[in-house]
Amino acid sequence: MADFLSQYSIQRWIEMCPQGYLENTVYGRGPDEHEPEAILDDTEQRDAAISSTVQLVVGERCALAASSGLINAAPDYPSKRFLATQTLDEARHVEVFTQRLFDLGVKKDDLEDTVQEHANPNLVKFAEVLLEKVGNGDFLAGVVGQNIVLEGMAFTVFELLETANKELNPKFAHTLSGTIADERRHVGFGENRIGSLVREHPEKKPEIEQMQQEMTYYMLATFADAFSGPQVQPAEPPTGEADFHGTNLATATPEEMEAVLSNTVLGEFKTRLDRIGLEYQSPPVPA
């Protein structure tokens, strides 16, 4: 365990993150990059961008509360130190996505109202399920919920958004690429550290699997909400291919996008849960 955890030291984090892929960035993007005028000048597109960014802020606020809350419950110092780096990563994500809302024209005084207005209720419930475990000081369930379920979902959503925005909005795509690099580290820690703890505490499996089932239900309901109803199309469709796990996002229908996103996240869940000795549980009611 000690060797694996040494890969998650503060020193390593400083070398990889602030002195690595974040060097020369401002709020996670190039100092001279801006939101495209095509979004800023089109009310419908701007509102759609605000709404989708609010979901990222809600998810990252949950991740910040969860990772900081898990530090005191962590059973060893290397885990506490890793969670400290994750806490700051998540705070950075809250900051860069909040900054994007400001870049899209949200006034600072209107931030909380905007978040409340656009936050998907299913995503809020998803967060509540996780934060209840964290609030109870349940390290094992908290790390599975945070670093496997929440981070697994965030990782795939960010990848989809990055692919879709590479050509249309390089500024946002760059912001996302830094957060993806962070999430990859977080998911890796969850898999590595939790596997041994699950083996030590097999009696916890049913409770953790139930939490995963509930979180998955609310996640799929959030995806269904996001892709239902009329979708806002970019004024100028991308000219190149935006391939995401075999689906061209430039030409895909909302149903196809929802399907590829859900299938990719669920596939990741199954693989990662299996690696730590847990069995994926389908949601109780089809979402």
Binding site: Q19, A84, E90, R92, K108
Partner: protein, 260 residues
């Protein structure tokens, strides 16, 4: 986002100042200067001549107590993220969490350099009881969800104590320990700056809150004295000079209007 190296956040209006100095972006710029090229808080090529046995023993005891203080700060700051009354304060606390974890890491690493393998046992064995008791008191304030009292205990009392002791130690420590301490001191300055600024604004028009924190201070004063005495004795600071070192703490408390 100002990128000019000469940028001074103090020229900003109050709200903009708070948002600026409590951001990840500000932290990022601040630590870049003194952590670049360092490994575990010091120049990786730095020579580390062996200490004599008495010096080594004293340093191990001192570092073990630094680890107790930094663990308190790490656990306190992480608990304060969820209590913070606004998002800039949450983000600042998250930067403090990683600073405290870094301090813990560099002190543990220094203990390893000095030949301590089982750091956990050694820390428990050498911990100053007053410091352990202070840590428990801080965690009770955090668990009670009392932001003002916990920030006072953590970012004013604990951070000022650490700042004072580390600064005194850095003046006559071996070169490697001194360099590690210099980086830690730079972080602590940011932390108690936040505590004083946040509490100063909140208490300015809150005489009841100030009276409450005076009580908290009174409850903790005995422990603070015990921590200072233990740390300064370990560092062999002459008894006559010790009251001078407590001055930073007393001045801060006075600025906040928390003297009797």
């Amino acid at each position: 986002m100002p990128s000019d190296e000469d940028f001074d956040p103090h020229v900003l209006a109050e709200d903009a100042f708070i948002e600026e100095v409590q951001s990840f972006q500000f932290w990022f710029g601040a630590v870049e200067g003194y952590l670049t090229g360092q490994s575990y808080g010091h120049d990786p090529g730095m020579a580390d001549p062996p200490l004599d046995e008495t010096q080594r023993e004293r340093l191990i005891t001192t570092l073990c107590n630094y680890c107790v203080g930094e663990t308190a700060a790490l656990e306190g700051a992480s608990g304060l993220v969820s209590l913070a009354p606004n998002h800039p304060a949450k983000i600042f606390m998250a930067t403090q969490v990683v600073d405290e974890a870094r301090h813990l890491e560099v002190f543990l690493r220094r203990l390893n350099d000095l030949g301590v393998e089982d750091t956990t046992t050694e820390i428990v064995r050498r911990a100053n009881p007053a410091l352990t008791e202070f840590k428990d008191a801080l965690m009770q304030l955090v668990a009670a969800g009392d932001w003002d009292a916990a920030v006072f205990a953590q970012n004013v009392i604990l951070e000022t104590m650490e700042f004072t002791v580390f600064r005194s130690h850095a003046q006559n420590a071996d070169p490697m320990t001194a360099e590690i301490l210099e980086g830690v001191i730079s972080d602590e300055r940011r932390h108690f700056g936040f505590g004083e600024n946040d509490l100063g604004r909140r208490l300015a028009h809150d005489p009841e809150g100030r009276a409450r924190l005076r009580d908290v201070r009174r409850d903790l004063d005995g422990l603070v004295l015990g921590v200072f005495e233990g740390a300064l004795a370990d560092l062999e600071v002459p008894a006559a000079d010790r009251h001078v070192l407590g001055r930073d703490y007393l001045e801060t408390v006075e600025r906040l209007g928390l003297t009797q």
